[in-house]
């Protein structure tokens, strides 16, 4: 799960615990010797500063300079695999976005995309995450902004005023995840038919099984088949 950064993790790059992590099923009575390999349980944590990544440190410093209430706005800051993720509280999203776009030492001109992710087991209980990928063309770097939302209050302010391109991205995220972007118009389904029920990309939205023309057999839906995780 994305915000659950491995305590000692693949972020370090080569080798490390990845090898333990990469292969084998647990509890399957596997006799190959590969199963049951150790996997470090993830924890919910911020990456301590300095991040050890120049770009990420620069972005954070600049943000701190021009946005005094930063500690209020941010829940966590994660640097993983060289990518900076700012977990922003919903109420501060617009102001953070404005700073990210306009500050000369940040200048994230381009919103690459808005997408969502659904973590039903999120320890904070806010399973829906709206994920914004920003790119600074001037400084050639990217940053990820993430907002966690609860299932029963899936509202996040729209960033369409800051980056007009967010329009369709937000519509898609609304369509597939049910995240409502407020303060904008035309938040309509874009991928699914407009009378569709439910939001298909949520984890509890199943794929259907397929009936087979052989003695009434039914291929089970993919998510009801065996899985290894």
């Amino acid at each position: 799960m994305s915000e659950l950064v491995p305590a000692s993790g693949a972020a370090s790059g080569k080798g490390g615990p990845r090898r333990h992590d990469a292969f084998g099923a647990s509890g399957s009575g596997d006799t190959s010797g590969f199963g049951g390999l150790v996997r470090n349980p993830p924890v919910l944590a911020s990456t301590p500063r300095p991040f050890g990544d120049t770009d990420a440190d620069n972005v954070y410093d600049a943000l701190e300079r021009s946005f005094p209430q930063l500690t209020d706005a941010l829940e966590r800051v994660v640097v993983d695999r060289g990518e900076l993720t700012l977990h922003v509280r919903r109420g501060h999203l617009l102001s953070v976005a404005q700073i990210l776009r306009d500050d000369p030492s940040l200048r994230f001109e381009l919103l690459s995309g808005v997408s969502g992710a659904d973590y039903p087991d999120d320890p904070t209980g806010r399973r829906l995450h709206a994920v914004y990928h920003l790119m600074s063309m001037t400084w050639r770097r990217r940053v990820r902004v993430e907002v966690s939302l609860a299932d029963d209050d899936p509202v996040v302010p729209s960033v369409m005023d800051v980056w007009p391109t967010a329009d369709w991205h937000e519509r898609e995220t609304y369509d597939l995840f049910g995240i409502v972007f407020s303060g904008r118009d035309g938040l309509l389904r874009i991928m699914m038919p407009d009378d569709w029920v439910g939001h298909p990309q949520r984890k509890d939205y199943p794929l259907g099984g397929v009936p087979v023309d052989y003695k009434g057999a039914q291929v089970p839906a993919p998510d009801t088949r065996r899985s290894y995780s």
Binding site: K14, A22, R81, W168, S182, L188, Y228
Partner: protein, 469 residues
């Protein structure tokens, strides 16, 4: 309108009252309000309203003028698949363009979550079906970044990736040229474009085994090495193609009608492009030499010699020229790739990731080599088990999320991949350039003529398989 079907149960006031207003449209408020998203506080809690429009709102509320609503698509010869454009025209002038997508939504992103990391490639390759290798590469780069093996990918694999991607870029631009020319009525342009694309598809078929949807690039490397004898074929193509590009210039570039249809048509400047998130040739034709291969290199692009063609005109003709130039630049890169190719592995050495099979081309296409089968069946039970488990169960990828972008023929193609540490992707999101770029179509077409809409859509070069995913 009193027919309160079960579906309308959830309407809140604005929607319902508008519905009851019916045809007399005098009091219908400004068009935009119909789409306001909002909420009301009520006894049971907060009620969110997400309303939509209907033909009533599309057509009504307007005072009379000689406007006609033309529903262009989703079945229309010039909409690149199943794009739907709802045009409001006044005479021949377009006053409003609405872009409707979703007719090809196949749920690729969702499907990926139910297959192994490797199998997801075969879904994603079908998203942008004109540039499948870019999808594969971008996704595999993401998975490799998650795995932390980015630096362990063999050089030969990376070079071949670049090679096939650049060939594909030419092929994709050729399809754009062909379809764009066809839509303007230049049938010969169409045949010319598809003629050369066919050659590239032949090359790619030789390399990957398939003309489209290759599933050639895999996490960790490639499905297989270059087959014997393909390098001379590519070299022959490299010799031939520049002449063909000259032919396109001769047939189309200077032609008064061609220029008349494209020059100063569908203008969109760089600032507007960035505001709308538009990348790729459209942005470069607006003057900004933004090309991820140069600006945020991946796959070792920083080591190749090539130029980024730009133009300042920001119209359809500039996009046409930029794409033609890009084909030439891609040829240069392909040539450098061929020069750099050295024998070596094409898959990461880590046997926990690398596909266990030693693939060879058998009589039935791609398959396991007999030696390998003999070895694992006869001598090593563990190898057989390993093979079995890796293929059926797949490898695990450490938890985390990454975002990798490549420069596809249409712009920034990026993958946001989340892993929960399991053998399946937890979430795969495709940042599709066609999807984003299509948002610019209204800005590019409103105020132009009906025929310009066709040119405009063609100049964006959307691939609906990628738009809808």
């Amino acid at each position: 309108m009193t027919q309160a079907s079960d579906t309308s149960a959830a309407f809140t006031a604005p929607a319902g009252s508008r519905a009851s207003a019916g045809p007399p449209v005098d009091d219908v408020p400004a068009y935009g309000d119909a789409y306001e998203a909002g909420f009301t506080e009520s006894a049971g809690g907060r009620v969110y309203t997400v309303t939509g429009g209907d033909w009533e709102q599309v057509l009504g509320g307007e005072d009379y003028s000689e406007r006609l609503t033309v529903n262009m698509g989703p079945q229309h010869p010039s909409t690149h698949g199943v794009l739907r454009l709802v045009l409001e025209i006044e005479g021949e002038t377009v006053t409003r363009t609405q872009v409707v997508i979703g007719y090809l939504h196949t749920g690729i992103e969702k499907s990926c979550e139910f297959r192994t990391w490797t199998q997801a490639v075969t879904f994603l390759t079908r998203a942008d079906y004109l540039a499948p290798l870019f999808n594969e590469t971008a996704y595999c780069l993401a998975v490799e970044k998650l795995l932390g093996v980015t630096d362990e990918i063999p050089e030969r694999a990376t070079i071949i990736r670049v090679l096939v991607m650049e060939l594909q870029r030419i092929a994709s631009h050729l399809v754009w040229l062909a379809t764009g020319a066809m839509e303007i009525g230049a049938t010969t342009g169409m045949i010319f474009g598809f003629r050369e694309r066919e050659k590239i598809l032949d090359l790619l078929e030789t390399i990957t085994g398939l003309r489209m949807n290759h599933a050639y690039v895999r996490p960790g490397g490639l499905a297989q090495d270059l087959p014997d004898g393909v390098v001379p074929d590519i070299r022959a193509f490299l010799l031939d193609m520049p002449k063909r590009i000259k032919e396109y210039h001769a047939l189309l570039s200077g032609q008064p009608i061609w220029k008349g249809r494209m020059v100063d048509v569908n203008y969109i400047d760089a600032a507007s492009c960035i505001a709308l998130g538009v990348t790729g040739p459209v942005l470069r034709a607006a003057g900004l030499e933004w090309d991820l291969r140069k600006t945020m290199p991946y796959c070792g692009y920083e080591t190749y010699e090539f130029d980024v063609p730009t133009s300042l005109d920001a119209d359809s003709y500039a996009r046409y020229l930029v794409r033609l130039e890009e084909m030439g630049e891609s040829l240069k890169i392909v040539e450098q790739c061929l020069d750099r190719l050295k024998p070596g592995p094409v898959m990461v050495a880590d046997k926990k990731i690398a596909w266990p099979a030693q693939l060879s081309i058998g009589t039935d296409g791609m398959g396991n080599s007999l030696d390998h089968i003999r070895k694992i069946m006869g001598t090593s039970m563990e190898a057989l088990i390993h093979h079995f488990k890796l293929v059926t169960e797949g490898f695990r990828v450490p938890a985390g999320q990454v975002y990798t972008a490549v420069e596809s023929p249409r712009g920034e193609l990026a993958y946001h991949v989340v892993s929960d540490g399991g053998t399946r992707p937890y979430r795969v999101h495709v940042r599709e350039p066609s999807f984003v770029n299509l948002q610019a179509v209204p800005a590019m077409t409103e105020g132009g003529q009906v025929a310009d809409v066709i040119v405009g859509v063609a100049s964006v070069d959307p691939v609906l398989g990628g738009v809808d995913r």
